[in-house]
Symmetry: C2
Subunit: 499 residues, 2 copies
């Protein structure tokens, strides 16, 4: 078998694996959005079966032979070529997956499927006790996973690698503690800002929120023929496949920001998924660079676009038309300030941009403690509330707005939270670079033009898939390696100016 | 390997096969109800892959060995035992499936997936020309399928067997032509009945229709925790798995009957699926006896319940509360007569009970001609309209209400339509037997009690799965073999009395 033949076979395997995994994605989407409650056990069985079959393909022993035939051949001599990238990433994933026992993969799918439904029920009823045993089990299984795949530094590295390839716990502690140190005084400097966001808590009828959000999504470039908007208990974006990217949002009738920022966030994910190169679907070159980069897209649209003055100069008039009762006495300037109001609160997804990363450092600290076993699931609420009080000065009134607020752990996403902060770092840096390249973005937003930013991101980020390791992708797009200063500077400038 | 071990392994294989097939069911449900339009090609690939994997399992060579170890053993000496039934049916399906080439199975899934979307688009735009090549291709593939699995009588027998095991084209021609002969004079005797159903074409706002239908479904025994109601272009019921049975309906704002009868029909299917024995899920004992029996349940609830006087004595008052504008001048009696108005029309799913089977005989005749090649897809509209004129005296105004009305052929369901008429035959006979057993059913309906009928059906039909061949199932439930006289008598009595 020559290198070309081996490569072709390998790509066919990779595409079939992705296609099968995309069936699992649909099962997961449906579980969040559509599935009736009593379907949960059957769904867990379905997911376990498909996860096992996907794992079989990921660990297909033919890969070893195929990789050997291609690695070192002329086909991969240019490390930036699609072939070289695909071979590099398939090797990385194969090496990791083959160490994972199939039984563990199935058990993981089964447990996280039921745990999600338990979490949803527990959250609805503010009943942490019924969720705690599942959380304990998930962290126990996470330890097994980490031990199975192995790690050089700490156990958490193995999990982190699923979301941010190449990132280590050590480096992450560096980035996050540095960020925390710089954000704490910034947050403190806003402590005296008077509350000015009560108008966001007036009546915003759900049906009209949905209509506004749909029209905003279309204006920003989301194509309804290639996707849909739904309602779920936790906002998410799911890319089922080419031509099928789905956003799910959570609305609140007396909190306009909840639905709107969920849209902007998930839209950023959706635009990334829609911006990947379809010709490479089913291979690493057609897949996102990392979760951190994915989050950079969501955080960019959520914050740098959705909280900007230019955006609201364009969207505030139609918003007032949609909600005249709530907004007839609110000026554009007052509304925009409300959207940018800095106030530590208990809920991460509702957090303002400045305090947001403090929510992440709390999750990170707790994740490390739960994984090491220093913290038991039963002790989580106490530890959670203490950290919120210490870092943010707020105490959740109940577990529903405390440790039950996020779906991630129930889904088994451990090592995922830090990617939000990495995303914030990348987002600020990418936005600044885009602005240097295409001119003042706020002015184009004010004219209702979002294509210049979207196209710059597609050109410099989306279409490259996993071509480069993340630090190199950032460097090529922005001219320098990842640098958290852009985030701190951007927050300082925008929030100092705006208040 | 002893018989017990072989049987256990076989059942595990069967369950896994069903579990995988149920993932395909979800993909199909989603394609009808949720999927964005541009997702169609990816979905076709997903379905082809899963269909191929299901086929691999259906034809797993281990079955041969396992079946040999069990067949003839003491385990299956009682032919009514679960083991004997499962072995009998697994043998039947294995024998058939192993003759089907995997490539054909995949091609079939891919083509029918895209054809469904093309059909939906063609129907929306009343553009038969864009659908015709797909229909041509589907019938060509259907011939290939029939030739692959083989048949004793005619090619159509092979397809029929997928839906009504053991049924032959010859016997079906007998049943249907006999029915046609007896129905034609009956329909003729109603020709002079004055139109009295204009009130069903008043304004019935969709949201209130949905609410009414939801509450009716709950009253009839559909559990929302174990299922859901949705909207699709063509009504259907999909049993994803235990605890997850989904009904999709089509509503019309000026045709109350469309949504309501769709509910009653699909509810019958749903109650059957929910009445199967969960302990046998994934094996023939936990699967429906045949499509004809499935249709008997839908047609029973649609016609013998949903068109009955007792039903409306209970449901008419809440209906008037829901639609006071449309119904304030309509008496219960006038409404009930409208629901039972006999008038030949072009649309099968809206057809009254008396003319309904004539729609089926037309489909049957056309299916036979398309399969043999005597009729080409391009010639279908002409042939269709001619048969409607000849048998029903109506001419469709366009293909949308003509040959584009049904989804079945685009889904590859060839040999399925006749099961509706078989269903009508079984339904009348089962309803009569239930009434003999539990007393006057209309009186219990009038009291809002549907459990006596539902439980009788569960006891005598649902829970038995594929225990007996259909004629024996009917004989055990009713005391005699399938007999179309019950249908003709029931129609004659109920419609003569009612008019």
């Amino acid at each position: 078998m020559n290198a070309e033949q081996a490569y072709e076979t390998m790509i066919a395997l990779s595409r079939e694996e992705t296609l099968l995994a995309s069936c699992l994605d649909l099962l997961e989407w449906d579980e969040e959005v559509s599935m009736p409650r009593d379907g949960v056990e059957h769904r867990a069985e379905q997911r376990a079966l498909l996860a096992g079959l996907v794992h079989d393909r990921e660990t297909d022993p033919r890969y070893e032979e195929l990789l050997a035939a291609v690695e070192g051949s002329a086909l991969v001599s240019d490390p930036e070529s699609a072939a070289a990238v695909n071979v590099r990433e398939i090797r990385r994933s194969f090496k990791k997956e083959r160490r994972m026992p199939r039984a563990l993969v199935e058990e993981w799918a089964r447990v996280t499927s039921i745990a999600q439904q338990t979490w949803a029920e527990s959250r609805r009823n503010d009943d942490y006790a019924s969720f705690a045993p599942w959380l304990e089990q998930i962290f126990a299984l996470a330890r097994e996973r980490a031990d199975a795949v192995g790690y050089e530094g700490t156990r958490y590295d193995a999990l982190l690698d699923d979301f941010e390839p190449g990132m280590t716990t050590e480096r992450l502690v560096d980035v996050l503690s540095n960020l925390q140190q710089r954000l704490v005084p910034l947050v403190a400097s806003f402590r005296d800002t008077p509350a000015s966001s009560e108008m966001l808590e007036r009546d915003f009828p759900l049906e009209r929120q949905k209509l506004f959000v749909e029209s905003a999504a279309a204006a920003l470039g989301f194509d309804p023929r290639g996707g849909r908007l739904d309602v779920s208990q936790h906002p998410f974006c799911s890319a089922i496949g080419p031509g099928d990217v789905r956003i799910a949002l959570r609305y609140h009738p007396r909190d306009f920001g909840q639905g709107f920022f969920a849209l902007m966030h998930e839209l950023g994910h959706a635009l990334y998924d829609q911006g990947l190169d379809r010709a490479f679907y089913g291979t690493p070159m057609g897949d996102a660079a990392s979760l951190g980069v994915h989050e950079s897209q969501s955080r960019l649209w959520e914050n740098h676009v959705g909280r900007s003055e230019g955006f609201w100069r364009h969207f505030y008039p139609p918003l007032c038309d949609a909600f005249p009762e709530a907004l007839n006495d609110v000026s554009l300037d007052a509304f925009r300030r409300a959207m940018n109001h800095v106030a530590p609160g208990p809920i991460r997804v509702n957090a303002d941009e400045v305090t947001y990363d403090l929510h992440i450092t709390i999750r990170f600290e707790l994740e490390l403690a739960l994984l090491s076993g220093d913290l038991r699931a039963a002790e989580l609420p106490g530890a959670w509330n203490e950290l919120y009080e210490r870092h943010l000065g707020v105490r959740p009134r109940n577990d529903r707005e405390g440790c039950l607020q996020d779906i991630h752990w129930s889904e088994g996403l451990i090592g995922y939270f830090p990617t939000y902060s990495l995303g914030n770092v990348y987002a600020a840096q990418l936005f600044a670079a885009a602005e240097r390249a295409v001119g003042p973005l706020e002015e184009s937003f004010a004219r209702g033009e979002f294509a210049p930013l979207r196209e710059w991101l597609r050109e410099h980020v989306h279409r490259h898939g996993m071509r480069w390791p993340v630090p190199e992708l950032i460097a090529r797009a922005t001219g320098e390696g990842p640098d958290a200063s852009y985030l701190v500077e951007s927050l300082t400038r925008r929030y100092r100016d705006g208040h």
